[in-house]
């Protein structure tokens, strides 16, 4: 039986919405260029050079992406590309703005003969990565272009990926494990999610995220009949058969492994949430969600109990009550977290002894593991500084927040754009996710439905984990903020994600091929 949506579409088919898409894209570009202009006008009193080089660069790229999309995927969802451009553009403007101020710091450091700050905002670099990201979008659209000939050279649609289900799964796992391989893996800012490729640092997890969606979609579309079979009934719940529990338990162990090896709570939560939601979409069984949530609860409980996982506890303690740990919280062998702040004697003793990081060395003397809430609190201070209307782009001091250009870019946005700006940003994200979900509903193939649903949900979940982290809704973990954070891996992966959604939306919205009926209408034999 056709769903309601399909019945409606039979009467009212989707239209090409290229004009609307262009109008929204033009708005996104005006938004970006205005942001650049405001940075310069407010900060230095004149239109900044970056407006033409970096802002202009983005406009050219976005126009190219639009024309390729309009030519090859004319039925594509009109909003996805403009929304992604708006996010990418605002992110660029903020990084440009941070770059201007850290550049001064850099200059001062050079003059004073000090070592340069290694991690800093880098607008030209980010523009380069935007170029690569949108380039990948264009390439992906070209490769996945809608051709009538299925055997055209390089013809590859999202559907094609179904053939390589297990291969993508394997590649995803290898990518995830790479950062813990000694030699190539690198720990940056307390999380092992990076690898070094030549001069570049890459976060393979960003790509693994996409590959995992492909793998889950392919796997679940095959197994969903079996996995939705009912074993026992327990009250209102119909439990699955015990033998079908295998995959979810494997994924659970895998995520616990990620949590332990990479100390990355966010990635673990992201992958597990993704799997459970896709499992639910595939089987329609609420019991799977219950089992997933139960396993997650058990996992978190175990993590907080096991001594070698105590740093999870430490993070939760510091998250719940960050103020005493501003200058340091020390995790002792007993599993207790004690503050090492300037009021404590150990801190004073270390400071008197001339330690540059008294909290850290005091904790080391106690034999504990150091962590603090400084980053989180300084991020919150930035949000507090912004208030409802924000200081205005170029008029705040977002560079004071550590990692203001990457993990905490959302807080930097909050400082200068205020609550108003953040609500707008969240709405843009929510719109992308919902357009993706709409694509999933409109898709005709079960595999593509799962794929589109999974890709949209993982984007939303990632925004939730990182934005929730920097606003103290949930414990802080280091994920990138899609399209905003500085970093090539994230931009490339997310632009590919948008390309996939665009392609699928084109398929879903394209009118179904009409049967050629040149023999005239079928004759009605009987109306009864």
């Amino acid at each position: 039986m056709n769903s309601l949506g399909e019945q409606i579409r039979a009467v009212l088919p989707y239209q090409r919405r290229n004009a609307a898409s262009f109008a929204v894209l033009a708005f996104a570009m005006v938004l970006t260029l205005s942001a650049f202009a405001e940075v310069g006008l407010a900060r230095d009193g004149h239109i900044p050079a970056g407006l033409f080089t970096i802002g202009g660069g983005l406009v050219v790229l976005a126009l190219a992406a639009y024309f390729v999309q309009a030519k090859f995927l004319p039925y594509a969802d009109p909003l996805l590309l403009p929304l992604a451009v708006a996010l990418n553009g605002l992110g660029l403007a903020m990084i440009y703005r941070l770059d201007l101020d850290t550049s001064d710091t850099k200059k001062a450091a050079q003059l004073a003969g000090k070592k340069l700050i290694k991690d800093a905002a880098d607008a030209p670099g980010q523009l380069l990565w935007t170029f690569v990201g949108i380039g990948l979008f264009v390439a992906a659209v070209l490769i996945m272009r809608d051709t009538t000939k299925t055997d055209a050279p390089l013809s590859f649609t999202p559907k094609t990926a179904q053939r390589y289900t297990y291969l993508t799964g394997l590649v995803a796992i290898i990518l995830l494990l790479l950062p813990i391989v000694p030699g190539i893996g690198a720990e940056i800012n307390g999380a092992r999610v990076w690898i070094h490729v030549g001069p570049l640092s890459v976060q393979p997890g960003e790509f693994a995220k996409l590959l995992l969606v492909v793998f889950f979609a392919g796997y679940l579309v095959n197994k969903r009949q079996a996995m939705s079979l009912i074993g026992k009934k327990l009250g209102p719940f119909s439990l699955p058969r015990a033998r079908d529990l295998g995959p979810i338990v494997v994924i659970w162990f895998f995520c616990l492994g990620v949590l332990f090896m990479q100390k990355d709570l966010g990635t673990a939560l992201l992958f597990f949430g993704l799997f459970v939601s896709m499992l639910y979409i595939a089987t329609q069984r609420v019991s799977w969600v219950a089992i997933g949530v139960g396993l997650l609860a058990v996992g978190v409980f175990v993590a907080t109990q096991l001594p070698f996982m105590a740093h999870v506890n430490q993070r939760i303690d510091i998250w719940q009550n960050p103020k005493p740990y501003f200058d340091g919280g020390c995790l002792l062998d007993s599993g207790k977290v004690v503050p090492v702040n300037p009021d404590t004697t150990i801190y004073k003793r270390e400071k008197a002894a001339g330690s540059g990081y008294p909290g850290f060395t005091a904790c080391a003397k106690l034999g504990g593991e150091y962590s603090d809430s400084r980053q989180l609190m300084m991020g919150l201070f930035a949000l507090g500084e912004g208030g409802v209307l924000g200081t205005g782009l170029g008029q705040g001091q977002p560079w004071q927040t550590p990692l203001s250009f990457s993990d905490f870019i959302f807080d930097s946005m909050g400082e200068e754009l205020g609550l108003t700006g953040l609500m707008a940003l969240l709405l843009i994200y929510a719109l992308i996710v919902q357009r993706g979900m709409k694509t999933a509903v409109a898709a005709r193939d079960p595999y593509l439905k799962l794929f589109a649903g999974g890709v949209s949900f993982v984007l939303g979940l990632q925004v939730f984990v990182i934005v929730g982290g920097v606003t103290k809704l949930i414990p802080l973990t280091g994920l990138t903020t899609p399209f905003l954070s500085q970093g090539g891996s994230s931009l490339m992966a997310n632009w590919i994600l948008i390309a996939i959604l665009v392609r699928m939306s084109h398929d879903a919205r394209k009118p179904a091929p009409q049967a050629i009926q040149d023999e005239g209408m079928t004759q009605i034999v009987s109306t009864r």
Binding site: S3, S277, Y280, I281, L380, E385, A430, Q434, M437, F457
Partner: protein, 493 residues
Amino acid sequence: MNMDKPIRWVAVFGMLLFFGLMAQVNYVQGSEAESLRTDPHNARQYQDVFNSPRGQISAGGEVLVTSTPTGKDNPKYGRTYKDGPIFAPVTGYFNGNATQVERAYNSLLGGKDKRIANQHWFDTFIGKKPEGANVELTINPEAQRRAYEQLKAKTAPGRRGGAVVIDAKTGAVQVAASWPSFDPNEVAPQTGDKGVKRLEQLDKGSGVIRPLNDNALSQTFPPGSTFKTVTATVAMNKLGMNDQTTLDTSPLSLPESGTNLPNDSDSGSCGGQAPMKGAYAESCNTSFARLALQLGIERLNQGAAEYGFGKSVTLEPQMPAAESDVPVNYTDADGKQQHTGRDATARSGIGQENVRATPLQMAMVASAIVNHGKLMNPYVVSTVRAKDQSELYSASPKEYSQPLSSDQASQFEDMMRAVVQAGTAKNLQGMNVAGKTGTAEQGPGIPNARWFVGFAPVDNPRYGFAVMTEGDGFGATGAGPIAAAIMRQVLKK
């Protein structure tokens, strides 16, 4: 099997996640913003404070504190205090951190207060930085100068003096002077590291001198016989007495130790029996010690609390005065908690033992009497105006308490007049002041705390005052003339 239904539910769940984020962002940037901005860990509130001019502080139309460009990058603006030491007890200092009015009105002076932003929302909207607002004090600058000179001249070397004058009807503080004081110019932002060192030195002080804690609002002293006003008030309220009640003024041997509590002289009113008015005017110790014994330390403590004892009086938000007290329990030299015994209660009744008061506190006692028994909350800032002269804040007088009835207050006025006419302060006749003298002993070899607490003018009084200065001799001669000189200046129109 159709997947649309679960996809829709996942979409709804996704929206819920976003609603959660939106709610949290609203909470953090809406309701928590102010407390995040003032969080002690938040270094932002202290940075940038030297980069824009801070508002002025003025008194009686005379500008006292200004910000001046230094011509350097950091700090861009310094702070200049006219007659710094004279006005320091009220203005405080500013060097990033701040004290007194500089601290209490930091956000307005610094231009960061919401009231400025609200009034000038369009400036905020177009990105113009709000400018610091100007604070006008209630202080009478000429009287403040007179008080400082007088205290400086009449206080024993190495000792302390303080004077406070309050407009009794409103609680506006006219004078809050301290000797010795410090010069806020020496620790202002432009002084750099030198100022930081000087501040440490000032903080340490020498002997009993703590220059950063002024002797008008922030230090307590034994109030001596001036406390008899409080004891008499409590006796009127709790024992139903009035100024004509006959009191036993004969010699008193203390109940526990049996030692003799001396009167200054055992003649006149203090020769055996006298109405309260006479015993008060001639300051008979024995009769007020007996009243204290009759009341007990608890009732004395509660009665004194009506005047403000036992609490720190808040002059302005974040500008509390030191706490005056009539302790029921106190911590002895060994750090043990002790109950105030019978002998100590008797001595507390005459403002000795562990009774402590700031000059502000005693001026409040006098003001309550002047204002017909109603004590107004003292304050030091009258108005705050933005750069364009629009008013951001204006003090509204608040009643603090009513420690005595209007009738009792007029009895006390007469009792205080009697002190000058026929009692311990006959030397002040014709100087248009009335009040109670006090001479508190502070231990062997330590100069007395000499007090004069009262009001002016004598007829239709308007101001309550308290003057305390350490030195040899008595309150009437040590503090009385200072009070008369200050009040002559205050009353000059």
